[in-house]
Amino acid sequence: MNHTHKAWRVGDDIDTDQLAPGAYMKFGIAEIAGHCLEGVRPDFAGGVRAGDVLVAGRNFGIGSSREQAAAALVQLGLRAVIAPSFSGLYFRNAFNVGLLLLTCPRAGEIAEGEQVGIDLPNCRVLRADGTALPCEPVPGFLLDMVRAGGLLMQLKRRLADGSLPRYPLRA
């Protein structure tokens, strides 16, 4: 693999309120991102670098519909979140804001700080020792959404090519 990504490990049941704490929800995404996961990994928001990946336990993203819980990770430059399972609502939100999620039953084998590769065409995570961890296939239209940079960009494209009609901006 040409590109590898440093893994940040967190545990099971990471909820949206840990990713985007309620007290900061009134602020913009840059401020929220600065407090992302501060309750469980105070070193994360300040230490994470663009291209890193978050490797989590089961049920990542349970809780609120606040998409800032996904957008904060985009803001921090995360390449992907790799976990054995995600909250369904978080799953939709993540792709909508352009964050790749990989459902990987064996994510727990990845070590803290390990450099992993992402083999998207074959839907697997490549470990430093060469082992491949299979992931559940992501539907093509969701991969398109991530590649486009999220739903907003996709809507822009549809409005431009006329496949989505324009409605008056004001009443």
Binding site: D13, D15, T16, D17, Q18, P21, G22, A23, M25, K26, F27, G39, R58, N59, I62, G63, S64, S65, R66, E67, A70, S85, S87, G88, L89, F91, R92, N93, N96, V97, P139, F141, G150, L151, L152, L155, K156, L159, L164, R166, Y167, P168, L169, R170, A171
Partner: protein
């Protein structure tokens, strides 16, 4: 036609098909898009302006100001002002400002009806499933897609059929049923599929109690939490001003494929979920003498009129324990007025409760005053660490009966021991 679950029938209708199969990816037409001051205008307005497009159908949009009201600081004032200005600019016909929590307000105004397909900009949007509508929560960007197109993609879910046989014992509620199910299946046990609640105990529930079931489908990890509509639904909607509701046909076919789970309602004891997960549910008796300093009756989950009535049944003519702070934030103005009129609210206040505004308040950590280090027992839906604002608070979840009994005792207490 193949046998269909209620979820399948609702999604078939929304996608213009006669029938759908589990796993089908559909484009559905949205009958109602509901959002609040936090998830709505402040996020949607700039994105719509960036796209250069507007609302597909303002008659299908409902805006509720419930998260940042009453405005406590400059940021809150800014967010609420954006919502009010945008509502005016868009000439939105359905705006509810500071009159209650969105899920309760849209219900009491009859916006959610059997057979509809609805989305909400809030994770507790499955509440609408109590009316036999398919309703679920989405984030703000997905809501942008909905208001710009009137459509949303769906994967037809499996149905987990939760059948509650028999009747609940006195002092045991829908909240206890949900805590029990979440304890058994976990916070992602619903696997983002549809849950349908049925059986004698469910049919016997009031509309607001059914809303509590559907509401906490979110904590079960389900996309939707459905109850087949019946005469109870039609009567509630009639009182909400919606006449002639047709409930016929909006039920699962008896032979539709579903994953069945059976429960004995009569055997259910009051449940309490320990910090910091709703899945840490156990019978109230197993909590020994766990002390509580704060009792909170609030939220869309636990401060509707029926919830306030339950608390008053325990507290009427009594005084809460010394050193306990009991806060009551009714879920809507309408429920608060009814509680006032029938003596429920006075009973709570005379017992020592403090009345808070009819908003999301402390539940979501957006406002309110949960002290650091406190043991809190709450009628809310989530007890994640730090959610209510204080990182060191330990929040226990329970029914309004159990929260009221605990406020009386100063410890986690079984309401059946004090109910008249």
């Amino acid at each position: 036609m193949p046998a269909q679950t209620l979820a399948q029938k609702l999604l078939a209708a929304a996608s213009g098909r006669a029938a759908v199969r589990v796993g089908d990816i559909l484009t559905c037409k949205v009958d109602l898009a509901m959002f609040h001051d936090s998830s709505g205008p402040r996020r949607l307005k700039p994105m719509l302006e960036e796209l250069g497009t507007g609302l597909w159908d303002r008659s299908k949009v409902v805006l509720v100001m419930d998260h940042y009201v009453p405005e406590a600081d400059d940021e809150s004032r800014r967010i609420v002002r954006i919502a009010r200005d945008w509502a005016r600019e868009q000439a939105l016909p359905h705006v509810y400002d500071s009159v209650g929590i969105c899920h309760v307000v849209v219900s009491e105004h009859g916006h959610v009806r059997p057979g509809m397909f609805c989305v909400g900009g809030d994770s507790h949007s499955p509440t609408g499933g109590a009316f036999g509508a398919y309703m679920f929560g989405v984030g703000s960007t997905e809501m942008l897609g909905v208001v710009a197109s009137g459509e949303i993609w769906m994967r037809v879910p499996d149905t987990l059929m939760m059948r509650w046989n028999g009747r609940l014992a006195p002092g045991v509620t829908a909240k206890d049923m949900m805590l029990h199910m979440i304890g058994r299946f976990g916070m992602n046990g619903g696997r983002y599929q549809a849950v349908e609640f049925c059986g004698e105990a469910v049919c016997a529930l009031s509309m607001q109690e059914r809303m509590t079931l559907s509401n906490m489908s979110a904590e079960l990890g389900a996309q939707a939490g459905l109850v087949a509509p019946d005469a109870v639904t039609a009567e509630y909607l009639r009182q909400a001003g919606v006449a002639g509701v047709d409930t016929a046909g909006w039920h699962s076919d008896p032979d539709a494929a579903a994953q069945w789970h059976e429960f004995d309602a009569a055997a259910l004891e009051p449940q309490v979920a320990a910090p910091h997960s709703p899945a840490n549910a156990a019978p109230v008796q197993s909590y020994g003498r766990t002390p509580v300093q704060v009792a909170y009756i609030g939220a869309c989950t636990g401060a509707k009129l029926d919830d306030l009535r339950a608390a008053a049944r325990v507290l009427r003519g009594r005084q809460i324990a010394a050193g306990v702070s009991l806060m009551v934030a009714p879920a809507s103005r309408r429920d608060q007025a009814a509680a006032e009129a029938e003596g429920v609210l006075p009973a709570l206040l005379q017992a020592g409760a403090t009345l808070l505004p009819t908003t999301c308040g402390a539940c979501s950590g957006y406002g309110g005053s949960i002290p650091e280090g406190a043991n809190v027992i709450a009628t809310t839906a989530r007890n994640f660490k730090g959610r209510m604002g204080a990182a060191s608070a330990r929040v226990y979840l329970a029914s309004p009966y159990t929260v009221a009994a605990s406020a009386l005792a100063g410890r986690v207490a079984d309401p059946r021991e004090v109910l008249p």
